[in-house]
């Protein structure tokens, strides 16, 4: 099962490798990892998506918490969260497919951010599922290049 961990870490050099090193050491695969400074310039926040059963995830959490540079580890998997991923997708277009491609982009609320003679680049944000669905839908037209940021997530406010 995929787990999403929110990890608050100190914002200085070498922190990322300390965190990543934990995963290599035990042979755990990181599904995605995003990191950037937070509202507090001394802290960065990592969103790490990792696969594993409960025991693996508990080890990962405990090992992460043990690092001196890690301030907190929260498992967001069971929580109610808002989560997003950003993708940039370059798609092949021809005069025959152009309108269908544009329609598909529209349906997924993508934005065309660059246009060439035979291809377009689309920006798309959404849940992982939505991005996967878009990629799937666009595949038949010719998917030339795809970059995705990996997931970021934040707790929903309590209502």
């Amino acid at each position: 099962m995929l787990h999403t961990l929110a990890v608050l870490v100190e914002n200085h050099p070498g922190v990322l490798i300390r965190v990543a090193g934990l995963f290599t050491r035990r042979g755990y695969n990181i599904d995605s990892l995003t990191v950037c400074q937070t509202e507090d310039p001394e802290l960065s926040r990592m969103t790490i998506v990792v696969a594993g059963d409960d025991q693996v995830i508990e080890q990962v959490r405990n090992q992460l918490s043990k690092l001196v540079v890690v301030h907190s580890v929260t498992d967001l998997t069971e929580e109610s969260v808002v989560d997003r991923e950003l993708a940039l997708v370059r798609i092949q277009v021809s005069s025959e497919t152009r309108s269908e491609v544009f329609q598909t982009v529209d349906v997924f609320r993508g934005r065309v951010v660059d246009m060439g003679r035979n291809d377009i680049t689309v920006e798309l944000t959404g849940t992982i599922k939505k991005l996967d669905a878009f990629v799937h839908a666009i595949q038949p037209y010719g998917l030339l290049e795809l970059v995705r940021t990996g997931k970021i997530a934040i707790l929903r406010s309590e209502t």
Partner: protein
């Protein structure tokens, strides 16, 4: 010019910060980039012990830390000096030994340029340090040193590395920043939670076949006294790991011995059969569980007390987990006991005694055996002496036959199993505890991995006694080839061994050959009475085996006993 400034050199700031932490001795080896530090050492009251190899430097600091309970400090230059420390750092990390490791680094202007004697020691040691620092400004040294000592010695202890570029050591007119720690992400656990403590007391009072399983965490927490109280009060049988030797003094009636691959039959049977396993400061190492956590203590409710939450349920499923300091928690358990009935263990004890009577550790008396040598050493030196060992058969014989009275009297490389540890560790131990007797028990393979440290012993006039169990082979490897590889011996013969007595004498150290049983007692007596260092070279047969032995792939009750 600059006469009025109050600022100091970076190197002096560093030495002052070390003094603030109570450091009086550093084990080190000089080199180009640490010259400013060696210059400042000339004016410092801190003693510097020069080893003969950086691996010796870090093992000495490790031995010092194990027997004193203080943080060991070692120092090496950049590049090859720093990389020579790596095995020793890994060793301290494996056994949770508090070290502060200082390495010199090339000047900040050259960092990352593959310059002369540059090595990314922080990158190299990241998986084997608790934490590490690259110092960019000498003004930060007081804070970093303070944090490093705190990190090394609290929680689960371990090595902390501080990498210091040459220009930082040479930095002039340093006005240090205030030495305030900034460790927001670091948590240390102390006392347990009341509910959990009661659960432990209840489980204990309800159990019929409990076993207490003591490891290195008992040593770290100085919990041996309270552990003994608890065992005395409830008649609880105790087994220990190699790291936990001495947690209950040898000869205590409740001690069943070491558990695991070379444990006693009774200890292994007891763990297998118990209905309650109270594990304190252990990590269920595969040398104990045979790598079969799922078949270890299967009939027992498992209580795990450890300062490091990562260890709990890592290998064996735990029913009651308590994260915290072993001493505080055992104290709490003891305090809460009066509310519960003391368990009735007479049936359990008669079973345990029956096993003990059936399976005593034994050896031949008619030839010179390693067991006999160690037994005799135990009688003559007593459990109050400090033992360090290397790795191999001699290490296991020492663990089985030497009557260790206190946990801090036994220094050996457990988790990493690093040959070459013993001699430099003895140096550190003797320097930490000047008035105590220090014995190294070693093999001819291991000794040759650190033999140059005889020079350190000679230079510092350390009265260490070396018990060399000389079988002319890599004994432990030979034993495995004999038992598990159909006697196809491969690369275990140490032909070309020197005459170790002559080697010792070349360093000005007394050497004595022993090749008959009659000489054993008199030679050890002579060594003990000699005021300086002595090497005793015992000629033993390569055929001697360490038994019992749990073969790989077996559960711990499936032992080869003879």
């Amino acid at each position: 010019m600059g006469e009025e400034t109050t600022g100091l050199k970076g190197a002096t700031v560093l030495l002052n910060a070390l003094q603030q932490e109570g450091v009086d001795v550093i084990f080190g080896y000089p080199g180009g980039v640490v010259l400013p530090l060696y210059d400042a050492l000339v004016d410092s009251p801190i003693r510097h012990v020069l080893a003969r190899h950086e691996q010796g430097v870090v093992y000495a600091a490790d031995g010092y830390a194990r027997v004193s309970g203080k943080v060991g400090v070692c120092l090496a230059t950049s590049g090859p000096g720093a990389t020579n420390l790596v095995t020793g750092i890994a060793n301290a990390y494996s056994d949770s030994i508090p070290l502060v490791v200082l390495t010199g680094q090339v000047p900040t202007t050259l960092l990352g340029s593959d310059s002369f004697q540059e090595a990314d020691i922080i990158g190299i040691t990241m998986p084997i340090t608790k934490h590490s620092y690259l110092v960019k400004d000498a003004r930060e040294l007081p804070r970093i040193v303070k944090e490093a000592f705190y990190l090394a010695s609290t929680g689960r202890p371990g090595p902390v590395l501080i990498d210091i570029p040459k220009d930082v050591l040479a930095q002039e007119n340093v006005e240090p920043f205030v030495a305030e720690m900034k460790l927001k992400g670091y948590k240390v656990f102390g006392r347990g939670n009341n509910g959990k403590i009661e659960e432990v007391a209840k489980a204990l009072s309800e159990s019929r076949k409990p076993v207490l399983y003591a490891g290195g965490g008992v040593v770290t927490a100085n919990a041996e006294g309270i552990l003994r109280h608890l065992s005395d009060k409830t008649n609880l049988p105790v087994v220990t790991t190699l790291m936990g030797l001495g947690s209950l003094p040898a000869g205590h009636p409740n001690l069943l011995g070491m558990v695991g691959m070379h444990g006693t039959v009774t200890a292994n049977y007891a763990v297998d059969d118990c209905d309650l396993l109270i594990a304190v400061g252990v990590r269920f190492d595969d040398r104990v569980t045979s790598g079969m956590g799922h078949r270890f203590a299967t009939k027992a409710k498992v209580i795990h007390i450890d300062i490091d939450p990562v260890e709990i349920s890592k290998v064996v499923k735990t029913h009651i987990r308590i994260v915290g300091d072993a001493r505080e928690i055992l104290e709490e358990v003891l305090d809460s006991l009066p509310g519960f009935t003391v368990p009735q263990l007479s049936d359990w004890w008669s079973q345990l005694r029956a096993w003990q009577n059936e399976h005593t550790l034994g050896y031949d008396m008619d030839r010179l055996t390693p067991q006999m040598v160690i037994k005799c050493l135990g009688e003559l030196a007593g459990g109050e002496a400090i033992i360090t060992t290397d790795v191999g058969q001699h290490q296991m014989w020492a663990a089985q036959y030497y009557p260790t009275a206190h946990p801090r009297n036994y220094a050996t490389s457990c988790g990493l199993g690093a040959m070459g540890y013993g001699l430099p560790a003895a140096v550190g131990a003797q320097i930490a505890r000047t008035d105590d007797k220090v014995f190294l028990i070693t093999g001819d393979g291991s000794l040759q991995m650190s033999i140059q440290e005889l020079g350190t012993i000679a230079q510092n006039k350390l009265p260490i006694k070396i018990i060399l169990l000389n079988n002319g082979v890599l004994g432990m490897v030979r034993q495995w080839q004999k038992m598990f590889y159909s006697e196809r011996y491969s690369q275990i013969l140490l032909q070309g061994n020197p005459d170790f007595v002559k080697v010792a004498e070349a360093y000005g150290i007394r050497g004595i050959h022993v090749d008959s049983t009659e000489q054993v007692r008199s030679a050890i007596t002579e060594a003990i009475n000699h005021p300086g260092p002595v090497l005793l070279d015992f000629a033993i047969s390569p055929e001697e085996a360490v038994l019992p032995l749990v073969p790989p792939g077996n559960v711990i009750t499936e032992m080869i006993v003879r």
